[in-house]
């Protein structure tokens, strides 16, 4: 940039700064109001998950509708996990869990290949 260009830039900047200084009170007041509105955004909690609520609600409604319309014939599908839960919570299962160390040891022996427990 040569000297003429520098002068041009300098003059433009001075004219611009002067125009900024001359802004009237009404404009400054409106700017201030805009700034306060922006600052209110900082204090406001950012619940981004709330944006997904309508979509999640709609998806849940569709799922409920599908299950309701499929009829009693398909109830077994839903009850299957329930029966698994029953087995898991049965007395025998709890006993098995208590002897977990023993079963692990048993597995390890079988993997070694001798399988001779005597």
């Amino acid at each position: 940039m040569n000297r003429t260009d520098e002068q041009l830039v300098q003059q433009a900047k001075e004219a611009f700064d002067a125009s900024v200084d001359k802004l009237d009170a009404t404009t400054l007041s409106r700017l201030n109001r805009g700034r306060q509105a922006a600052l209110a955004e900082v204090a406001r909690p950012n619940y981004t998950w709330m944006h997904w609520m309508p979509a999640t609600g709609a998806a849940a409604a569709v799922l409920i509708a599908v299950f309701a319309l499929r009829g009693p014939g398909d109830i077994d599908v839903i009850s299957a996990p329930a029966s698994d839960l029953e087995i898991l919570l049965g007395e025998e299962s709890i006993e098995m869990l208590e002897d977990l160390e023993f079963y692990s040891w048993l597995d390890a022996l079988e993997l070694d290949g001798d399988g001779d427990l005597g």
Partner: protein, 201 residues
């Protein structure tokens, strides 16, 4: 209440989260107060309408606070101007569409000559009317010439000259490379020198 109890009560009410938000709000307020007037004039030169420029600046301030308020304050200036430039760009797009529709229906266009650049309020800096007139005329010249620059040149010139951003900051604000900023800026100065003529040198 003992002194310890008072300290405990204060520490319970003023959580670290609350203190951080307050500090952040204070910093953001200071930043926006420093930048808002120049931003308004930059937007005004780009769209040539003060009310529209005010809306654009307010929108940019809100978006900055909402999306980038937690960022390091050093990043705010280029981010703010990027948001503002995007707003100006969208405004021009909407206006172009509107104008096409207006032309289609052969409706009258708003007259740009009615645009009043010089406010009639007394000068807060205490300049004489003659000085004000000279400054106003000079600003009208430069404003018109800058407005008529191609968009990217106008952005580069205003961000570098009026806002005083460096090349790197201008590149972030414009969403382009530093090399492009230098090219646009150089071309802008060349064009302005040709348009503004001798009385500017």
């Amino acid at each position: 209440m003992t002194a310890e109890a008072a300290v405990f009560a204060v520490s319970c009410t003023a959580t670290p989260e609350g203190a951080r938000t307050l500090q952040q709000e204070r910093q953001l307020n200071q930043f926006l107060a420093e930048v808002e007037r120049r931003a308004l004039r930059i937007a005004e030169i780009a769209v040539r309408d003060r009310d529209e420029a005010l809306d654009l600046v307010q929108d940019a301030m809100i978006k900055l606070a909402r999306n980038y308020g937690t960022r390091n304050s050093d990043e705010w200036t280029p981010l703010f101007y990027r948001i503002l430039q995007n707003g100006v760009r969208d405004w021009h797009r909407r206006r172009a569409v509107k104008n096409r529709v207006m032309v289609w229906f052969r409706k009258a266009q708003p007259d740009d000559n009615d645009y009043d650049v010089v406010e009639s309020a007394p000068d807060p800096m205490g300049r004489t009317p003659d000085e004000n007139l000279q400054n106003s005329e000079a600003m009208q010249d430069i404003e018109l010439a800058v407005h008529e620059l191609p968009r990217r040149q106008r952005e580069a010139f205003m961000l570098r000259t009026f806002e005083g951003l460096d090349v790197a900051g201008t590149a972030i604000a414009m969403g382009c490379s530093e090399g492009s900023v230098k090219t646009h800026y150089s071309r802008a100065i060349h064009t302005l020198r040709d348009r503004l003529g001798e009385h500017w040198q």
